[in-house]
Amino acid sequence: MPLKHKLYFVLAAVHMLMIALYATHFADWGNTGNAATKTLATVGSYTGSNNIFSFFAPGLSDQPYVVYAVKFKDSTEKLIDLKGSSPDFTNRVNNIYGYLTLPEARQVLSASLAQSMLQRYPNAAKIRVAMVVQQIPDIYAYKNGERNIWRFWFQNDFAVNTPATTQQ
């Protein structure tokens, strides 16, 4: 076997080791600021070896959802449930809504979503981004008559060319 091919085996072993390490949450082990860890993270970003595989794990939490209330310049109002042309687009939008549960990301993400609404409805004077959360009763409570409920979480109001106001 030529040296080049032996090197391929070594690279494959290193790649596998990285996949295994990151799967065990290597990035959370300790100091992530040093040069070696940063290099590994960058290599991982390109090769896909820096993923943690915690899909639906260890469990599922309540589902966040966003509804938009748009008030137009002629004082008419419209409630909008953002949907795209495919179910996959909706899956992706739901992914953004998941980040809205993080308080530090809430303001900037809801402002971004409001501006995308403004793109769709240029005549809007005011846009409300309201997050609600769907709570599912456990299976035995459901059997006893409880049903899924939507709870208000927060809302951000954006008036065109004026700062946002938040209510929680």
């Binding site: 260890p58 599922l60 739901n94």
Partner: protein
């Protein structure tokens, strides 16, 4: 110890069919093209400069060092919309080239890089399907996936030793094994997968709700069994998929699990990609001869050293 070493050696040096890599390449690129067309009507909302998340915001919140559309646009001094159109067009042509195996390496690298650029910009909207597509495109870029059933294989005289084909196949197989093991362990750490609540909640949530499953509340054993079987098939996947007596049932079970996800949770693209990855990577291993149509011809074409000959070369 000697036995273990011998088994590892067998795992990496027993010749594998190059068709596995060819079908992997075709499946991954065809899937990516389908995904591109499915998302195309909403493309600018996902990746456009003024999409759901403006470029400046998605870049500022990005945690990776990979290039984004914003980076390309500012560094190459191209207008924002033109950048999206160019990257999308290059992505499309790269995937098409990769699928037919024309300049496979170049097309693989290009498709992988374009996907990275798009995914860096749209990282807030990306979910499992992008994770696995990124991994799969990386393998299409670096592994000899154009070794057969490609335009290149009819022209090239480059010979690829069978042990490199085997190494490539094992690399993807082991990646899947680590992924399922990790998924199984992480799920088993939560009580929801043991008492059936995870299945119940997933099926009840509006974002996944495809069919009425309220009847499950009358038969709580059903979600419980589904949860247990998920833990079983994911956690023991790395062992069972290589064990002669269980490999067929495991592959069928894991494909059924992904089909369930696609149908009942509405994650059609994710389910389809995982089914394709499992089928192409383990199909021939679990059901020998699965890709064997015209195999004899493809194995003797230029570009591939016959396994037996390659073994002799290794011994030499």
């Amino acid at each position: 110890m000697k036995k273990i070493f011998s088994r590892i050696s067998n795992l990496f040096f027993t010749p594998s069919s190059p068709d596995t890599l060819a079908f992997f390449r075709i499946a991954v690129s065809a899937f990516a093209l389908v995904q591109l067309f499915v998302l195309l009507p909403d493309w600018m909302w996902l990746y456009g400069p003024k999409g759901l998340l403006p470029w400046q915001i998605s870049d500022a919140l990005s945690t990776t060092n990979t290039p984004s559309l914003f980076f390309i646009s500012t560094h190459l001094n191209i207008s924002a919309n033109t950048t999206v159109y160019i990257i999308t067009a290059v992505y499309f042509f790269s995937l098409t080239g990769l699928m037919i195996g024309f300049k496979t390496r170049l097309m693989g690298v290009s498709a992988w890089l374009m996907h990275i650029i798009l995914n860096t910009t749209g990282h807030f909207t990306a979910y499992g399907v992008e994770t696995f597509l990124h991994i799969a495109l990386f393998y299409c870029a670096v592994l000899p996936v154009g070794c057969c059933r490609s335009v290149d294989s009819y022209k090239k005289t480059n010979q690829i030793p069978s042990y490199l084909i085997t190494l490539s196949v094992r690399l993807i197989q082991l990646h899947l094994c680590i992924m399922y093991l990790s998924c199984g362990i992480e799920k088993s750490l939560g009580a929801q997968w043991w008492n059936g609540e995870a299945i119940w909640i997933a099926l009840q949530q509006d974002q996944f709700h495809q069919v009425n499953t309220g009847w499950m509340a009358q038969v709580p054993l059903v979600p419980k069994l589904l949860g247990w079987s998920t833990l079983l098939f994911e956690t023991f996947y790395p062992v069972a998929i290589f064990f002669t007596k269980t490999k067929k049932i495991w592959l069928i079970a894991i494909i059924s699990m992904h089909a369930f996800i696609a149908i009942f949770l509405g994650l059609q693209l994710f389910g389809a990609l995982m089914i394709l990855l499992n089928l192409t990577v383990f199909g021939n291993h679990c059901f020998p001869g699965m890709f064997s149509f015209n195999l004899k011809k493809s194995m003797t074409r230029p570009g591939i050293i016959k396994p037996n000959l390659s073994r002799q070369l290794i011994r030499l």
